[in-house]
């Protein structure tokens, strides 16, 4: 055992990793079964923040991610848009990342076009597109939206969009939902929007696993709710589907829950690897091999 493990080629580990992701995906897709989820406090808080909105409230959704993190954040974006659509709030999409508008279009196509096709562009939702400048954009639009956003993503003048009439700046939104994969993202939204205007701007966020630990210092004062990585997405999905899903929810609303399967197996693999690594280490120490 020790001899085998000591000189184990990395590529065997790679193969194991590949299998531990592929096999669960295949099995879950074939059988349609996945593992149960128990929502944690932070996911509940996010759900509740959206749940507390009234019909017609303006909500800003900033999608600050790119295709590279779509695996983690796409399901969250889907669930957020769906929840907002179910609550009949007005959705204003924007992006701090250059490819963000593409993510917005994807989410709109996935949820609004297919299941909420009665919603009208410009009346119920609008895609304001990407603006370069990272946190600079946030700093400007917290006091004046029109200084940067003179048109929407496809070039329609802001003044021609009915739902923009009552919006002067970010403080006019009832809630800011941020889905972010890094800089600029949730941290910047918290620093430059909810920190200076604690009474006027409320932010909930969904972020990648890498970012989550860095955001904990802001919870709960500056950031009341946070969905961390695919697990957060799966928990939030469950809450939304339980309330609005009906008996036979569309599989696209359970994407994160499905993806928790490979997650579990791969986590167990890594845990196993850590245990084996320490087994090797202790055997080596016992035998007096210098390490």
């Amino acid at each position: 055992m020790y001899e085998f493990l000591k000189d184990l080629d990395k590529r065997w580990i790679f193969l194991l990793m590949f299998l531990s992701v592929t096999i669960p995906i295949y099995i879950i897709a074939k059988t349609g079964k996945s593992f149960p989820e128990v929502p944690t406090v932070l996911s509940e808080a996010v759900f509740q923040a959206v749940e507390d909105l009234d019909e017609g409230d303006p909500v800003l959704l900033s999608f600050d991610f790119d295709p590279a993190s779509e695996g983690e954040l796409g399901p969250m974006a889907t669930a957020f848009v769906r929840h907002c659509a179910e609550k009949k709030v007005k959705m204003y999409f924007m992006a701090l990342w250059p490819v963000g508008p593409q993510m917005i279009d994807d989410a709109i196509a996935r949820v609004i076009h297919s299941d909420f096709s009665h919603l009208v562009y410009g009346m119920d939702y609008v895609n304001m597109g990407f603006k370069p400048g990272n946190e600079g954009v946030i700093k400007v639009i917290v006091t004046d939206m029109r200084e940067l956003y003179t048109t929407d993503d496809i070039g329609t003048s802001i003044d021609d969009i009915p739902m923009m009439k009552d919006i002067e700046n970010v403080q006019d939104f009832e809630l800011v939902i941020n889905v972010s994969a890094g800089y600029a993202g949730t941290k910047e939204w918290v620093q430059y929007a909810s920190t200076p205007y604690p009474d006027k701007i409320k932010i909930v966020a969904g972020c990648t696993g890498v970012q989550a630990p860095l955001l904990y210092p802001y919870i709960p004062n500056q950031l009341p709710g946070l969905l961390g990585a695919i697990k957060g997405a799966a928990e939030y999905e469950k809450l939304v589907v339980d309330k609005y899903g009906g008996d036979n929810p569309d599989p696209k609303y359970l994407e994160a829950k499905r993806r928790m399967g490979p997650q579990l197996v791969a986590h167990l693999l890594i845990i196993l690897l850590i245990i084996l690594a320490n087994y090797i280490y202790f055997v080596e120490r016992k035998r007096g091999v210098s390490v």
């Binding site: 897709a29 695996g71 983690e72 370069p132 003179t150 890498v210 989550a212 630990p213 993806r259 490979p262």
Partner: protein
Amino acid sequence: MRREALISTSLLVLGALYLTGRVFFTEHGMGKAYVRAVEVKSLETDPEISWTKYENATQRSYHEAVIKDPDQAVYQFSLSRTLGTWVAALFTLFILSFLYKDNPLYKIAESVVVGVSAAYWMVVAFWTTIVPNLLGKLSPGWIKSWAMPGLNTEAEFIYLVPLTMGVMLLWRLAPKGSWISRWPLAFIIGTTAGIRLIGFLHADFLGQIRNTIIPLVVSSPETGFSFWDSVKNIIIIIGVLSAIVYFFFSIEHKGFVGKTAKLGIWFLMITFGAAFGYTVMGRIALLAIRVEFLLNDWLWLIDPSHARVLM
């Protein structure tokens, strides 16, 4: 070495055979993409111009439309997107092949990604920065006439300053006087230093001190003394202070300071462990979506979103 080459060649051949079999000898095939044709009309009524936009569609919707009306033209098979799916799948495999070892297929993928992505960001910079934020500010009339018909602003000549600095920057390409390009560089570095100095002192430095001012003893008239919240606060304060001691540069880590610094590094290690654990999650999700793409969109082995009818 020869054995290795033999194995990899036979794997490639087997894979190719499997794909051929799946494409040509199964009824449904694989990796095909469909579109829905949507007519877009210009919003101006006169003169009316229209064109067709193609949205992604599923095989299921295509199949159902054909059953309803065999002559329909709304749903169509898309050759370019089918080709795209295959290209994307092969590129995915090419990159993953690096895990086995460096090879020509990986090198092809690498060359393509460097070329495409470099040009991609240049195009994005041109259409989102140069056109609206530089040319659009300097000569809105001109930009309005060909690129941004919705633009309605006055010219702002202050943007001549960044334009001039940009030209100075490009002066490097000239045979003489390339030192002039240091001026805009100096401007960038100076303004960056200024903004970051004050920004970090304000947001991170003061902000984190402020967040750390918490009572050691948590108690409120409604709920009374809370033991666990008190413990939490005490740990946070000890952790922050001891880790700061670790970063002290002017004192050697000996004696009491050394012990405190040691405690500080323990806190840092726990922090790193937590970050590692959280990150694993995200990375696996990324792999999962690639595998899903291969199995679902390309090989048509699984169908979690019920997008297809397999004939």
